[in-house]
């Protein structure tokens, strides 16, 4: 429980701020070196994985040094603040220079986000690029931000709904708020400019960003959801032996069929549920891809049930909810399940169990462009299918040209479990099913 504080009150050791909390992110200092503080006076605001908390001083004294910068993760049991011992406030002036810069709190909004196993093929830069487009077009919406950031905004007197967002998924970060607070007029103008942009236009900054001596323009703490994604991907790539095979399916007929469905239902349907439906059929034929590896027991567990993971891009990061018994669901039901799960992911109401237990994953890597990818397996599964962006193409059949729509597909398999031929055969089955919607869906 409690950390033992030094009896000479020379420094204050960061205690467990919740129950079983090991680290906390420093959001904001509320005191300066040289400042005299009272017992219970707030020293800093910190965010644990459970809460934004104010950390008070356990005794009265004069601050000698602050240990840690805003935005930094600090460990429980390490000194947070040093105090002058024996009333020596004389050195206060010299140590005042050590005041930490009010530096960007970075991705502080992500501390503590619970994520499931991660997989996917989007690179960091793609994700960042997409985000800024979203945040520029989102104008009148209620701002997305964590309670921590909202609180900072409230205290700085900033209307968070008017702050330009730079965080993941269009979230307003602490640094956005701080920037808005220091230059409210410019930030509001910038926001309007962003809103006026045509959604598809490409804006290239005319100037280089300011850099430091190393040529670095920004140092982004590698943590939170990003770190958890990294850990999951790292484990997958270091364990599974990846190979990727790609193919295109002519979905012209399927699109016609899809439009029939849409007309009957009175709402839009994407190709994704149809592809998932085809994958489920194909997995019955190729059960070696519907499996998980128990590396500790050196066992391959071939699964009889098909629990289809579906990568969902959310503001909290990439999440992979699982559609249970997907092989028992019709395309429309699959669409509904994916929609419900995706909403659960986005609102963070999804149950942990719904993020685990997948036997195969489908990732819609083309929803923002791109044809082929090298998807990373959602380990311990053994295969993942990435769907690219479907597009119109000139196709050839029986020596004649025709216009059609193709869906690019990229299948990655764990070569330890699935041979190249088996992977290619599976992909060919998916292709045939997608190209023959009558067979796939029945007439």
């Amino acid at each position: 429980m409690s950390v033992k504080q030094p009896s000479d009150k020379s420094h204050f050791i960061l205690p467990d701020l919740g129950e079983g909390v090991h680290e906390a992110e420093l959001i904001r200092w509320r005191v300066k070196p040289g400042e005299a503080v009272q017992e219970h006076q707030i020293l800093a605001e910190m965010e644990t994985d459970k809460a934004l908390v104010e950390v008070p001083s356990p005794w009265a004294g004069t601050i000698r040094e602050l240990h840690g910068k805003e935005g930094e993760i600090l460990n429980v049991g390490k000194p947070l603040v040093s105090y002058e011992v024996g009333g020596g406030a004389a050195s206060a002036a010299t140590s005042a220079a050590a005041k930490p810069k009010a530096h960007a709190a970075g991705e502080s909004e992500d501390a503590g986000t619970v994520v499931g196993t991660m997989s996917g093929t989007l690179t960091v830069s793609e994700r960042f690029a997409r985000r800024s487009e979203e945040s520029n077009t989102a104008t009148a919406r209620k701002a997305l931000a964590t309670p921590a950031v909202r609180r900072i905004a409230k205290e700085l007197g900033v209307d968070i709904n008017r702050v330009a967002a730079s965080g993941r998924g269009g979230r307003v970060t602490a640094s956005d708020v701080q920037a808005a607070a220091s230059a409210p007029a410019t930030s509001a103008r910038g926001h309007e400019n962003g809103a006026a942009l045509a959604p598809r236009s490409v804006v290239i900054p005319a100037e280089r960003p300011p850099v430091d001596a190393d040529g670095v323009s920004e140092r982004i703490p590698f943590r939170g959801v990003r770190r958890k994604i990294a850990q999951a991907l790292d484990l997958s790539v270091k364990t599974a032996v990846h190979f990727t095979v790609v193919e295109e399916a002519d979905v012209t007929a399927l699109l016609a069929k899809r439009n029939e469905y849409a007309k009957v239902l009175g709402r839009k349907l994407s190709l994704l549920p149809f592809a998932m439906f085809a994958v489920c059929r194909a997995l019955r034929k190729h059960p070696e891809l519907n499996a998980v590896v128990d590396d500790a027991a050196e066992t391959i567990l071939r699964k009889g049930v098909v629990n289809l993971g579906c990568a969902v891009d959310t503001e909290h990061g990439l999440m992979v909810p699982v559609v249970r018994d997907a092989d028992r669901l019709a395309p429309v039901e699959l669409a509904d399940r994916v929609k419900a799960l995706a909403e659960g992911c986005r609102s963070r109401t999804i149950a942990r169990e719904e993020l685990a237990g997948g036997t195969f994953t489908v990732s819609n890597v083309g929803s923002h462009g791109g044809m082929f990818a090298t998807p990373i397996i959602n380990y311990p599964e053994v295969a993942i299918l990435g769907l690219g962006r479907s597009r119109e193409r000139v196709l050839v059949k029986d020596g004649r040209f025709y216009a059609g729509t193709v869906l690019p597909m990229s299948l990655s398999c764990d070569h330890r479990v699935v041979d190249g031929a088996a992977g290619a055969a599976f992909l060919a089955t998916v292709q045939s099913l997608l190209e023959a919607p009558e067979t796939l869906l029945g007439s």
Binding site: M1, S2, V3, K4, Q5, F12, I13, L14, P15, D16, L17, G18, E19, V21, H40, K50, A51, L52, V53, E54, V55, P56, S57, P58, P147, R151
Partner: protein
């Protein structure tokens, strides 16, 4: 055959002093004399200050965890006020005001949350059971205590406190069933604060009131404004009389709200609307009581300032006493469950580590963590 009505009833809601300052003097008659009213207000103010200080103690590592009572002070206080000093108080963990009124020293509660079990060794003559952290266990204890009193022919009753979440526990229903069917003198005082940590009450109970849960057991049940000292005092007084004279239990739903987080490990902003919190801040039991006292010309701002200073001194003293006690020895965690320790536990006590978590028995005891960690 015409369909007849098998059973019909209404659930009463008792309110005497509401958040707008409306005061029903007729209903309040003979409930709380003015002198006591002042003492109760002062007491609540001290409890509120303790809440604030305890919260900061946890944040600066001087306390393990702490559940703030803020906003709910009136309920347990009114109950403790109208009960006899020898009636059992069987608390949950948000009844500081009632426990302190009974005479439990503030430092006991602080010690408890600092992880020192001596804080739970409440003097016997105070007739208070220890704080019950596992949700809902204490209601059965209350039924048992009341049963024992009845068996011995004593006029003692038991009043147990619990939250809305506890009414979803099996133990609650067992306790209610026993109390009703064995005619036990129990007051079941449910503090409905609308949130079982982050779970809203409406998804735990489909009925319009929690009070009506008592109906199913053939128990008298009533709802009252839990932030209204007078209303709680009235319904508990009647329930106590029913228990003492007729040996019948009562189920009371006191509608209140916790203005703080569930505990210091919680951040209620993640699941509650600020608008809802603001609404309840206006219904604070302290505000309306202070208003009434001012109206009665019993209170003014200088008295308030004096009281706040008094509260600071009182609380600082309690903190000093709690922190001044020598830390418990690590062996103490073994000392209060079994009269005689079996060999395995004895070995754990000696080596201060467990052998049940897959640790090697050959490892030296010095690897064991030093402090008594709770």
């Amino acid at each position: 055959m015409p369909i007849k009505t098998a059973f019909k009833t209404e659930i009463e809601h008792v309110s005497i002093l509401d958040e707008h300052g409306q005061f029903d003097a007729k209903l309040a008659e003979g409930l709380i004399p003015d002198d006591d009213l002042l003492a109760l207000y002062r007491h609540m103010t001290v409890c509120r200050h303790l809440d604030e200080v305890a919260f900061k103690l946890q944040r600066s590592g001087r306390m393990g965890t702490y559940p703030q009572n803020m906003g709910q002070e009136a309920t347990s206080l009114a109950a403790a006020y109208v009960l006899e000093k020898t009636d059992w108080l069987v608390p949950c963990y948000r009844e500081n005001a009632g426990l302190f009124w009974r005479g439990v020293p503030m430092e006991y509660v602080l010690l408890h949350w600092m992880g020192d079990e001596r804080g739970n060794a409440i003097p016997r003559e105070l007739f208070c059971t220890p704080l019950a952290i596992p949700i809902g266990t204490q209601m059965l204890h209350a039924a048992g205590l009341a049963w024992a009193a009845k068996y011995r022919g004593e006029k003692q009753i038991a009043c147990t406190f619990f939250g809305d979440g506890a009414t979803s526990e099996g133990d609650f229903h067992e306790a209610m069933n026993f109390a009703a069917n064995l005619d036990l003198p129990v007051v079941f005082l449910c503090q409905n604060n609308f949130w079982a940590i982050s779970v809203p009450g409406k998804i735990q109970c489909s009925a319009p009131t929690l009070a009506q849960r008592g109906l199913a057991y053939g128990m008298h049940c009533v709802q009252c404004d839990g932030n209204d000292l007078f209303a709680v005092a009235k319904v508990v007084k009647e329930a106590a009389a029913r228990a003492r004279e007729q040996s019948r239990p009562t189920f009371i739903e006191a509608v209140t709200y916790r203005l703080g987080d569930h505990t210091t490990a919680d951040d209620a902003r993640r699941y509650r609307d600020q608008a809802e919190v603001d609404l309840w801040k206006a219904r604070d039991p302290l505000i309306r009581l202070r208003g009434l006292l001012k109206e009665k010309k019993l209170w003014n701002d200088s008295k308030e300032a004096e009281l706040l200073e008094f509260a600071e001194r009182e609380v600082a003293g309690a903190v000093q006493r709690a922190e001044g006690i020598e830390a418990p020895a690590t062996t103490e965690v073994f000392d209060h469950t079994f009269a005689t320790l079996d060999p395995q536990i004895l070995k754990q006590r000696e080596t201060r580590r467990t052998s049940s978590l897959g640790q090697q028995s050959g490892r030296s005891a010095s690897h064991a963590p030093a402090g008594g960690s709770h």
